[in-house]
């Protein structure tokens, strides 16, 4: 039974629509941003139940301090060679991004997406996985392919949709696929790879395999229903999967508040599902490595899934089709308090005496040359727009394992039409 009441004295309801702190023209100021100290977060046992992760899911696991020291229980204590390999893969990813962004501006391809500022999230995580663990990336983890040594030329062939494109010109640039590299086919549809990764991990467990799955999505994509279904499946079956949420603060023009970040963290959602949730400094390659290593051990010992929120910043535009100057402060990127992942790892290596400025500068030059050489090789196979690089009949192949009559007929129709038109 409802109570009728006089509403005349009630204040009107108001609808809360989130608004980012800084818009174009504003001076970005993160001085009130509370950064937990490096080394402060505890490192639980990998068998600890999800209910114990409340604090860790609201904190920030950090290993590298402001001076470049690796501190605290999460320090993975990597040797100089491993650290240099990590730095190199991150720098190579950035050099590749720079070059391909320019190639798009030169009209050699239709589209590109950089991962600037987020290199650690892909590179360090991949290094902490076994080479045969399956990665289910979103479109901003090109660092996985770079780390696993996938051919830069083939990445570019795909970007150019040329005659050597492994995907035969069917896919939008950067939607790579390489089963041999443990890199699942990228889809334009957001978050679909989340339940797929859980399914892959369940299959591995059901078969008594030892391989695990890792999946990435942005914080914006966590709003998709597939995120929820994946979390539910992952917890129900204790799937051996690492669920990475790359919180780079922006989903195109929408700040993370539109994915719910004003009220909670993304890592904290894990705890509600009964999944271990870690929130880490995504610009700290050692924190990314350590958290992934921890989650991999948890998965491999049948303790179930882990969600890792990588707190980072999308330093550049969403894509080559985007101008972030239209919706966010121009200096937000440089003011971002967690810095640059490459600069921070470099500082650490120098601090350890394992690296120096000269070697770094030389490496940057070498990597730029490597990318340039790869580009030259790829462009020999053609660039987008310079005619068709694949026989047009290939368009009809691979829809099904065997081509059914209606596709054969449509293919023939196309051949006939082109012949009649004199093409």
């Amino acid at each position: 039974m409802s109570v009728e009441r006089d509403r005349s004295n009630l204040p009107p309801l108001s609808l809360h629509v989130p608004e980012p702190k800084f818009r174009p023209g504003d001076t970005a100021d993160f001085s009130d941003f509370d950064i937990p100290a490096a080394g402060a977060a505890r490192r639980p046992d990998t068998a600890e139940p999800a209910s114990g992760f409340h604090e860790l899911s609201y904190s920030l696991v950090r290993v590298l301090d402001e001076a470049g020291n690796a501190v605290g229980p999460w320090d993975p204590k990597l040797d100089g060679e491993t650290l240099r390999k990590m730095l190199r893969a991150m720098a190579l990813t950035r050099a590749f991004d720079e070059r391909m962004f320019r190639a798009q501006r030169q009209g050699k391809t239709s589209f590109y997406m950089k991962s600037t500022g987020e290199e650690a999230v892909a590179v360090a995580a991949t290094m902490a996985l076994a080479s045969d663990d399956m990665c289910f990336p979103s479109y901003r983890q090109q660092g996985i392919l770079v780390t696993r040594g996938y051919s830069l030329v083939d990445m570019m062939n795909q970007i150019y949709s040329n005659s050597a494109d492994p995907l035969q010109g069917r896919q939008l640039p950067i939607m790579y696929s390489s089963k041999a590299t443990g890199f699942f086919s990228i889809s334009g549809n957001l978050a679909t790879q989340y339940p797929q990764a859980v399914g892959w991990a369940m299959a591995s467990a059901a078969k008594g395999d030892s391989r695990i799955a890792a999946v990435w999505c942005g914080e914006g994509s966590t709003a998709e229903g597939d995120f929820h279904s994946a979390m539910t499946f992952a917890t129900v079956y204790k799937a051996p999967v690492i669920l990475n949420v790359v919180n780079n603060q922006w989903a195109i023009s929408s700040f993370s508040g539109f994915a719910g970040a004003e009220a909670t963290t993304f890592a904290a959602r894990a705890v509600g599902y009964g999944i271990a949730g870690l929130r880490i400094d995504g610009n700290d390659a050692l924190a990314v490595y350590a958290a992934t290593q921890w989650a991999a051990e948890r998965a491999r010992t049948n303790q179930g899934p882990t969600l890792i929120e990588h707190f980072t910043y999308r330093a550049e535009g969403h894509s080559t089709s985007d101008d972030p100057g239209q919706y966010r402060s121009a200096d937000e990127s440089s003011a971002w308090p967690l810095g640059d992942p490459i600069a921070r790892l470099k500082q650490h290596l120098i601090h350890l005496g394992e690296w120096d400025e000269e070697r770094h500068a030389a490496q940057d030059l070498e990597l730029a040359e490597q990318v340039k050489a790869a580009q030259k090789a790829a462009e020999k196979n053609g660039v987008l727009g310079h005619g068709m690089h694949q026989p047009f009949e290939t368009m009809f192949e691979g829809v099904f394992e065997e081509m059914p009559w209606h596709l054969k007929e449509q293919c023939q129709q196309m051949i006939d039409e082109r012949k009649a038109a004199g093409i």
Partner: protein
């Protein structure tokens, strides 16, 4: 050989395939311990264990997304969607992922999944237990759509679908799970025990996908149907004494166009019958194909008897359902000169 109704035949197909191939897994809401709300998976978990036959959370996008991931690993999942009316939350995974995976990865990854789902009306199921959404899937390149009309076909087609390396939607006409339905809702139901197609081999056999079945040969008119409607049209033409040729399509994509073309060229007339709503339904595609290929043989406009373009009603079901009266009137029009 054994006597089976359609549920038992479907159950048998899964049992046969699970025994033959350790990569076949069955999953869905209530399919495990309980054996499915229609009993289609009864006994499978007890026989093959919980890691091969398991209950899932109530999330259709999750069920199909997980199945796609299992398929990418190398398994051959047979997910169940409890009612076709509830397949929509999984549309993104089916259309954007399962259907496109082979194409977009240039064969690097594939999606050998078979999605089973009860569909169709005639059971007072109302709006959300009666729908026939096959036209949504026939429109998607990369998916095969299969609909059996008998226990014998159901088992043979399901085995073929599970073995097929492409994603397949396998719609099961729940009105004829227990027996063929002649469209006369006011008469006692028949069961499969008296029907020749209720005789089903216990072991392995398959029916090639993409091949129609000529249920009855005739000269006066070609009737294209599938699922429950095969039995409704058969009974109706026998009552009316029409010498119709009835083609049970069995597979909608890829379609057996040769069988259709040969029949319509012989009879010169074509009636298309399906329960699904008319506009944009699969009947429109059939009509266009027949028109394009058999134009000079046609002696009358192609007729379609379908569900109306309304949500499936509850109490008005028998006015909505394309039953004997509506089929009879369409045949009169088709055969008048």
């Amino acid at each position: 050989m054994a006597r089976m109704n359609m549920i038992q035949a479907i159950n048998s197909a899964m049992e046969v395939m699970m025994a033959r191939d350790p990569d076949v897994v069955v999953m869905g809401e209530d399919v495990g311990y309980f054996g499915g709300v229609f009993r289609a998976t009864a006994g499978l978990q007890a026989k093959f264990g919980k890691t091969r036959v398991f209950d899932t959370p109530i999330t259709e996008c999750g069920i199909i997304g997980v199945a796609v991931g299992m398929g990418a690993y190398g398994l051959r999942p047979v997910p169940e969607i409890q009612f076709a009316d509830y397949i929509y939350p999984a549309l993104d995974q089916l259309v954007s992922e399962a259907a496109r995976l082979r194409y977009r990865s240039a064969g690097d990854f594939t999606s050998p999944i078979t999605v089973r789902s009860p569909f169709g009306g005639g059971i007072f199921g109302g709006q959300t237990h009666s729908q026939s959404p096959e036209g949504i899937f026939t429109h998607v390149s990369g998916i095969k759509t299969v609909i059996p009309a008998t226990p014998y076909d159901a088992k043979g087609l399901l085995i073929a679908a599970i073995e097929d390396n492409d994603p397949t939607i396998f719609f099961e006409p729940k009105r004829i799970y227990n027996g063929p339905f002649d469209g006369h809702y006011d008469r006692p139901s028949k069961n499969w025990s008296q029907h020749p197609a209720g005789e089903v081999p216990e072991g392995y056999y398959k029916i090639e996908l993409g091949k129609a079945a000529t249920v009855r040969s005739g000269e006066a008119v070609t009737i294209l149907a599938y699922g429950t409607m095969v039995h409704v049209v058969l009974s109706t033409i026998e009552e009316l004494g029409v010498d119709a040729e009835i083609i049970d399509l069995r597979t909608l994509v890829p379609l057996d166009i040769e069988a259709i073309e040969a029949s319509v060229k012989k009879t010169g007339r074509c009636l298309i019958v399906h329960e699904a709503t008319r506009t944009g339904g699969f009947g429109a595609e059939l009509s266009a194909l027949v028109q394009e290929r058999c134009f000079y043989h046609l002696e009358a406009p192609i007729e379609r008897v379908t569900g109306f373009d309304t949500p499936y009603p509850h109490s008005l079901e028998w006015a909505y359902f394309p039953g004997p009266v509506r089929i009879g009137e369409a045949l009169k029009k088709l055969l008048k000169d």
